[in-house]
């Protein structure tokens, strides 16, 4: 049997993904994380004199701090199984990717294990973000 035919046959017997249910879950968990982020933003605006435009920075840092605690206690991975993209797309998911890789590889030592593997999962986000931003900004600044 050709590989293409096999793929077709296999996909016929695959359990159907509950796409609609997954989307509902992703919607409300992702939205909830953004509501927490909005509350953190207002906290920084009122107590640390940030403006609506600059408040993104401390908010992101604080959300990654929260994600460290949740990842360390094993809560974030369980949330990820339930929420799918709802927990992966917010910046806490980026933090989770870095922090879980760091924790997972600590048995190999801090230099080769933690240092070498920290960006194993999140590296591609940084690479393609930086490269595409470079191209976009280059085009914009030339024209």
């Amino acid at each position: 049997m050709k590989p293409e035919n096999y793929k077709k046959l296999a996909s016929k017997y695959e359990p159907k993904k509950p796409v609609f249910k997954n989307c509902i879950r992703a919607f409300w968990t992702g939205g909830l994380i953004c509501i927490i982020g909005q509350a953190v933003s207002y906290f920084f605006i009122f107590f640390f004199n940030f403006t609506e435009q600059t408040v993104g920075n401390p908010t992101v840092a604080f959300m990654i701090f929260l994600s460290m605690l949740l990842t360390g206690f094993g809560v974030y991975d369980r949330l990820g199984q339930f929420a799918g993209a709802g927990s992966a797309v917010p910046v806490t998911g980026f933090g989770n990717a870095v922090i879980s890789a760091a924790i997972e590889h600590r048995s190999e030592g801090f230099v080769q294990g933690v240092g070498g593997n920290m960006f194993k999962l999140a590296g591609s986000v940084i690479l393609f973000g930086v490269f595409s931003a470079f191209i976009v900004a280059l085009i914009k600044s030339v024209f």
């Binding site: 796409v19 997954n22 992703a26 919607f27 409300w28 968990t29 992702g30 939205g31 909830l32 994380i33 509501i35 982020g37 909005q38 609506e52 993104g56 920075n57 908010t59 992101v60 840092a61 990654i64 701090f65 994600s67 460290m68 990842t71 360390g72 206690f73 094993g74 799918g84 993209a85 709802g86 992966a88 797309v89 917010p90 910046v91 998911g93 980026f94 933090g95 870095v98 922090i99 924790i103 997972e104 590889h105 933690v114 920290m118 591609s124 986000v125 940084i126 690479l127 393609f128 973000g129 595409s132 931003a133 470079f134 976009v136 900004a137 280059l138 085009i139 914009k140 600044s141 030339v142």
Partner: protein, 118 residues
Amino acid sequence: MIAMFFWAFVIGGLICVIGQLMMDVGKLTPGHTLSILVVAGAVLAGFDLYEPFVDFAGAGATIPITSFGNSLVAGAMSEAEKHGVVGVLTGMFEVTSSGISAAIVFGFIGAIFFKPKG
């Protein structure tokens, strides 16, 4: 203020639904999905479409990973206005430094204090 919370919820949730559809219907890995979303954020920033989105939805636009691409472009452009093309490289991480620094610092602290699960 209540409206801001509402729009943060709706817009943030919708971006997550887009990611979920890319994973379920498009059959992409989470790594591919996040990379595409970051690139989308950078391209939107290139057309000046992301900033109005932040004004309107607040954390609903700054918390999803798409804002990472937007902030990279914003940092590069603000330096490029001062120093020309060279500023594209020197300003790249100007706005996003807090996210990357936080991930590195808290990742290391996490690795010191927490033991791997499972």
